[in-house]
Amino acid sequence: MEFPGLFNYWIAVVLMMTGFYIVIAQGNLIKKVVGLNIFQVSVFVFYISMSKIKGGTAPILDEGIEIYTNPLPHVLILTAIVVGVATTALALALVVRIRDAYGTIEEDEIGKLEQEEET
């Protein structure tokens, strides 16, 4: 097995874990959104690289084109990107509202304020 054989998947896995770690470990809500973005993008990379064939071109019906890349995953990811944009926009809007309501976007400070409210 040649070393860079699964190179693209390694990239996807590393990106995914980086994003996931940021989502879990960071207390700042904006940083969480950034982490979530990285996490989603890793899946986009996974899908896009999945369909690529070495030496393949775009799937155009023309003479001389025999090996071509499967375009379907790319189209799927176009949809997923739109979903990702919507999610990010909504998350950022929520962060703005949270800052208005709490005066902070640090998770532990919000938690403290909420605890005071409960008691």
């Binding site: 989502v23 969480k32 996974f46 995953p73 949809t79 999610t87 998350a91 929520l94």
Partner: protein, 497 residues
């Protein structure tokens, strides 16, 4: 012919009505439009169920593209049943929502509320109707994104953090789901569920498919709030507006359970996932823990909405337990509980909506003597609570009966005993509310109106609540109809009898 396009209309109708709501802007007008749309969806869903009952599964090719390439909408017994559940809850919450939303949401945002409500309904209906795994992801995200917004409408600022937390966990869940879909596509080259079912057995032994199954399971478990992945649910249900909680509690998690059933029994129908991949041990173990842990936490809650939210997590445990049996009886129990739980949680959360409308609080200390002040509301709460416990003549009894039968059929009597014991925990937390509401004197607040005076919520809120409560009793006494549909659905999924 319009009847041939019903599967498409089921989704398109609320999808088109949503932007119209946005343009209308007038609160009452948007409410009227949303009301008409939801009842229209219910009519379509019932027509589809009748069609499926008489002529078998309905298949619809979106845009006329043939099945494995185009997106197929497929309505079979399971899908039709879930469609009816979602549409029924969606349309019953609407009349309730008008006053409840007017009380809890700022007046200039009410039209946005109904826009989001319709979008959420679109997503949930779409998930139940589609026969394409990627299309399911799109609808999952439509319903999720709109439910984040709906939760954010809550009056309390904690609703915002609850919505944010749900957003983060929901997005992780949905992303896990597409990773799974991608891996399945990699091995089979198809996204159509029926096509996947025929192609998967050949490659089921590969690491890729095993990883795909794991990703799909974890992703959907996040959405359906299976025990250790339930952290988003209590806050989201507690701080969302009452109408949203009643709607989401009855539909959102149920549709995710449905998607999980689809994955295991349709897509992986040709593979024995329960025996080879340890799915059974994992699912049943977590389901049992959920039943006990969540019920135990529910006992100690002082906010009734939060208490009911924890009880939802426990009830999801019962559904997943039914899936875990992977027998016709077990799955019938799981599917029928899907319906029954939607009914009872609808009643309970609507009752809390009425209480909030009147008192502005759902804290247990404010409920003292409420059985006398709001007798109609609390009687409905009682019906829902009894169903939750599983008392005979209510729907809860039917589903627990099926689950216990499934356990005994397999000879796993300890599970039957555990189901019974966990029901006792429900007795405790429901009793706490009943005791406070019926056996405590009304808290004498200075300046409050006369304590013994009956002060009920308006009829438009009581009526939908009592329709659901009536259904709780009706389907508890005569369950032949629901059980027939659920059993037919379970048989269809090709489980071994």
């Amino acid at each position: 012919m319009i009847s041939g396009h019903l599967p498409a209309l089921q989704v398109v109708l609320p999808l088109m009505a949503a932007p119209l709501c946005l343009l209308l802007r007038h609160s009452t007008a948007t409410w009227g439009l949303a009301l008409a749309t939801t009842w229209g969806s219910l009519a379509i869903a019932i027509t589809l169920l009748l069609q499926v009952l008489s002529t078998g599964p309905v298949s619809y090719e979106m845009g006329g593209w043939a099945a494995p390439w185009g997106i197929e909408y497929r309505v079979d017994m399971v899908g039709a049943f879930v469609l009816v559940i979602v549409a029924a809850l969606g349309s019953l919450v609407m009349p309730f929502a008008r006053l409840s939303v007017a009380r809890e949401v700022a007046a200039d945002r009410v039209y946005l509320f109904y826009t989001m409500y319709l979008l959420c309904l679109t997503g949930l209906l779409g998930m139940a109707i589609t026969g394409d795994v990627f299309n399911l992801f799109v609808f999952l995200e439509i319903s999720s994104l709109s439910s984040y917004v709906l939760i954010g409408f809550g009056g309390d600022r904690r609703a915002l953090t609850a919505a944010f937390r749900y957003l983060v966990m929901g997005t992780i869940g949905a992303t896990f789901y597409i990773i799974g879909v991608g891996m399945m596509y990699m091995m089979t080259g198809t996204l159509n569920m029926a096509d996947l079912a025929t192609l998967l057995p050949a490659v089921a032994g590969t690491r890729t498919i095993q990883a795909a199954l794991a990703f799909l399971t974890v992703g959907l478990s996040l959405k359906l709030a299976l025990f250790p992945l339930h952290l988003w649910l209590p806050n989201a249900y507690t701080h969302a507006p009452s109408a949203v909680t009643a709607f989401l509690a009855g539909t959102a998690t149920k549709v995710a359970v449905y998607a999980l059933i689809r994955i295991y029994f349709t897509i992986f129908g040709g593979v024995d996932v329960f025996e080879t991949f340890f799915i059974r041990e994992v699912l049943m173990g977590l389901a049992l823990v959920a039943m006990f842990a969540a019920s135990a936490v529910a006992v100690f809650q002082t906010n009734i909405k939060r208490m009911l939210a924890y009880s939802s997590i426990a009830q999801i445990g019962y559904m997943v337990l039914g899936i875990g049996f992977a027998t016709v009886t077990g799955l019938t129990g799981g599917i029928v509980h899907l319906f029954n739980h939607a009914l009872m949680k609808g009643v309970l959360f609507m009752a809390m909506g009425c209480v909030f409308w009147k008192l502005g609080s759902v804290h247990i200390r404010d409920l003292a003597g409420l059985g006398r002040r709001m007798p109609v509301t609390m009687a409905a709460f009682l019906v829902g609570g009894l169903s939750l416990i599983g008392v005979p003549l209510t729907v809860g009894f039917i589903s627990k009966w099926m689950l216990i039968q499934a356990a005994l059929e397999k000879g796993w009597w300890p599970i039957a005993v555990l189901v019974l014991i966990s029901s006792l925990l429900a007795v405790i937390y429901i009793w706490r509310v009943v005791e406070v509401a019926y056996f405590r004197p009304v808290a004498a607040e200075p300046g409050a109106e006369s304590a013994s005076k009956i002060a009920e919520a308006p009829l438009s809120m009581l009526l939908p609540m009592w329709v659901l409560a009536g259904a709780c009793l009706y389907f508890g006494i005569d369950a032949t109809r629901t059980l027939e549909v659920a059993a037919a659905a379970a048989m269809l999924l090709g489980t071994t009898p």
